[in-house]
């Protein structure tokens, strides 16, 4: 057996599973201190279906804690950004494009030092140890507790980041070090931003991870604990302490991953219909497709991997206006006031939920209160919703093949059984706890994203080398060797660079070594 828990902003969902079978599922309120929410979720599972804690082989947790801490700019550690790249890059120092209040919240300090590589691996400048020691002394004097190290072109060669980390670790014992090549990709400012954010969250990460571990242990569970990452794979607690940013998008990711398990469809669009919005993502062979552009988090441009999600303002609480011949749905919503403002609950506002009830697609509130609605209007509103959602799904498609659609979330009753282009809509059971089920999936991954110089006739060899490295990384992260497969592969030539420079991205995923 294993347990999946998804800690959202409002609810904490938990499931007890054997293989892909849901044995118990509970929904509790998220608590301010996290751990008591986990404890009550575990108690809830125990009450629903008594289990022997010793028989639990793994606990997987998805949490929005870290991204919320950043957005609220609280509990962030005093952080320094060390950039290795002088004499280049000095005009745009670290955090140059950050909102001022966030720089203040982390007491952000910047140190520009010599180092860095050219695109082809040559050194821009040698590392200057005296310069780094002076920076370390200044950090110590200013109470810096976490450091982000970013070297120019470290995705091509990470030696300077590693050497600087070694030196700073010796000078500043106890200070957390985050290295950019482990966090982001090409694009210095965006990668550095992600690394500084990671650094600022390190203390909180240690605190949260300890709290989670304590509450799981308190329930008598001795099995290892894992956290969900943005890409739908797991990381162990040691990794989570070092890379809290890797949890940032685990919410939408887990909901998508849950949808694939529940429906058995592994390449599909997932439509998560909530109260205010519908979020559409795409799963390719069971994993969320990543956004290819920069992602802005709390006003900071970053380039770490996030799922590609497109949202539209259609949900269960969306306001419905107009007549049968000209109807609009959303984008405004009654939100959490649905149960007081919707017609079926005795309110005075026509919402998408009222339309679903009037059409006989859902049974909530009092259907008698919407019996008077014009049939033509009901039909038109449902058609509008179907057309708008189909349009978003269509935008998210990656090939000409029709894409099946899996609907999850409380508002999925609004969707028809089939969308335009013949895409069938799957509506799996347990959709309300899809998040927790998604968290409970036991897979780990390894990734390579680097620029390679592909010499003539060497393309296959270079690609094989990249694939093997990704597989090795997945195994190192805890995958059963035989189970690892390549799930994503991308090769993009880079213009204006000599030597056929090509950016190669490979992702390998395998099953976590867990007995069930």
């Amino acid at each position: 057996m294993h347990i999946g828990i998804d800690v959202g902003g409002t609810n904490t969902d938990a499931v007890l599973m054997r293989g892909r079978t849901v044995l118990a599922a509970v929904k509790t309120s998220t608590t301010a201190d996290v751990t008591s929410g986990i404890v009550s979720a575990l108690d809830g599972l125990q009450r629903q279906r008594a289990f022997d804690p010793g028989q639990v082989h793994a606990v997987m947790i998805g949490t929005t804690h870290f991204i919320n801490a950043l957005i609220e700019a609280r509990r962030l550690a005093p952080t320094a950004a060390v950039r290795l790249g002088l004499p280049a890059t000095a005009s745009l120092p670290p955090m140059v494009d950050w909102p001022e209040h966030l720089v203040g919240a982390i007491n952000g300090r910047s140190y520009l030092c010599h180092g860095g590589h050219e695109f082809d691996g040559r050194h821009i400048a040698e590392l200057d140890e005296a310069e780094l020691r002076a920076a370390a002394a200044d950090m110590a004097a200013h109470g810096v507790r976490s450091v982000a190290i970013t070297s120019v072109f470290s995705p091509v060669n990470a030696e300077f980041e590693a050497r600087a980390a070694e030196l700073l670790a010796a000078e500043l014992p106890g200070v957390a070090l985050s290295l950019s090549h482990e966090i982001g990709r090409i694009g210095l400012l965006e990668r550095e931003n992600a690394t500084v954010i990671n650094a600022a969250l390190r203390e909180l990460a240690a605190h949260i991870v300890d709290g989670l571990a304590a509450s799981v242990a308190g329930a008598g569970i001795t099995a290892p604990l894992y956290l969900s990452q943005n890409d739908g794979t797991l990381m162990d607690v040691d990794f989570a302490r070092r890379y809290p940013v890797a949890t940032f998008a685990s919410g939408p990711t887990n909901s998508m991953r849950g949808a694939t398990v529940l429906s058995g469809v592994d390449t599909c669009a997932v439509v998560d219909v909530g109260g205010t919005t519908s979020d559409v993502g795409v799963l390719q062979r069971g994993f969320p497709r990543e956004a290819t552009t920069e992602v802005s988090v709390a006003g900071v441009r970053t380039n770490f991997r996030m799922p590609d999600v497109l949202s539209i303002g259609i949900g269960g609480g969306s306001l419905v206006r107009g007549q049968a011949d000209a109807v609009t749905v959303g984008p405004d919503s009654v939100g959490y006031e649905l149960t007081s403002r919707a017609l079926v609950f005795g309110g005075d506002t026509l919402t998408a939920t009222d339309i679903a009830v009037a059409a006989g697609a859902a049974e909530v509130g009092d259907p008698g209160l919407v019996a008077h609605l014009d049939r033509g209007l009901v039909r038109a509103a449902l058609d509008r919703i179907a057309a708008d959602v189909a349009d978003v799904v269509e935008r998210m498609r990656t090939s000409a093949e029709p894409l099946p659609v899996v609907a999850v979330g409380g508002g999925s009753i609004l969707l028809p059984d089939e969308l335009a282009d013949g895409g069938r809509v799957h509506r799996p059971e347990h959709y309300a706890v899809a998040n927790a089920i998604g968290a409970a999936i036991a897979q780990v991954g390894g990734e390579v994203d680097r620029v390679f110089a592909v010499e003539p006739g060497r393309r296959e060899a270079v690609l094989d080398e990249a694939r093997q490295e990704a597989v090795d990384r997945a195994v190192a992260a805890g995958a059963t060797p035989g189970s690892v497969t390549i799930v994503d592969f991308d090769e993009v030539p880079i213009p204006y660079l000599p030597g056929n420079a090509t950016r190669v991205r490979v992702k390998a995923v395998g099953d976590l070594k867990v007995e069930d």
Binding site: A90, S91, L92, T293, M396, L497
Partner: protein
Amino acid sequence: MTRSITGDDLVDIARGAAILGTGGGGDPHIGRLLASAALREHGPVRLTPLAELPDDAQVLTVAMVGAPTVMVEKLPSIEQVGLSVATLAEYRGRPVTHIACAEAGGVNSLIPVVAAAQLGLPLVDADGMGRAFPEIQMVLPTLYDIRATPMSVADEKGNRLVVDAVDNHWAERLVRTATVEMGCSTMTSAFAMTGAQARQALVPDTLSLCAELGRLVGQARERHQDPVAAAVARLGGRRLFTGKVVDVLRRTSKGFARGEATLEGLGGDSGARLLIRFQNEHLVAERVAGDGERAEVLASVPDLICTLDSESGEAVTTESLRFGHRVTVIAAPADPRWHSAGGLALAGPRYFGYDIDPVRCPAPEVSA
């Protein structure tokens, strides 16, 4: 735009410059950050209308040469930009009075702002192309026998180079080679000319155009109007095709990203396809009827072929084109001098390897 550039103008200039980049030109984001830092440090940049340039002004163009991918990693410095200008001025033994843009599209619309701010010099409201092109000699001054060289090249380490070449094609070869050795992202100054020459050879008002284009597109979006229509109207261009990307083929050859993107028509263009051929920038747009047998070139270089996000009106670069992206392809007339025999020899379809006569942007849409 007023007669000076301040930090507030940069978002609009960057947005407009990306559109004039015709799919290439490099992402202006880093250029915008750098210009913003330079303006913070040195204050606003005065803008001189081309027509007001005195005869004896000493004008230099400033541009980044290299790989945009490198520039987003090894960030250029403000000093590096200024150094390229100082190096050329020193070699020529004559002080510079005005900075100009070599190209208006993409990142190189903003690099000269950095130079002008750092050196405290006025910037000419003009550029050498009225768009973006991939090679150094592809500027109108080449048609007026204005030499690219002596041309200076500066890297971030302080290495400086002056190239004196027999013609502008040689300048391209030598500077490109040096740039690779210097780490693939250099700042260059070139095309030294007098005010009188500049008035003749440059395309006027292009920085104002970038700023206005960016502002109009942003405004249309805020007012829930059609931002693409706003861009078309300002450029005096024409909407060629609206569709969704169904295929993108890429390959690199000789350091250039060549390829084709295929769009499937939407709305009024349903049932048709559009093929866009590109080499960093978009070169040829070809409409293919449903059966695939009849192909018609709708527009080609030297005119501008821009892909805009159908909804936001933001420029879409060839690198970011991907399946499902909904784009509207528009064409806009290039400066008429590009259609002269000399202009076509420099940057017509045949120079890029397409054996077709150039197809000019059709007459502008008449507004009702």
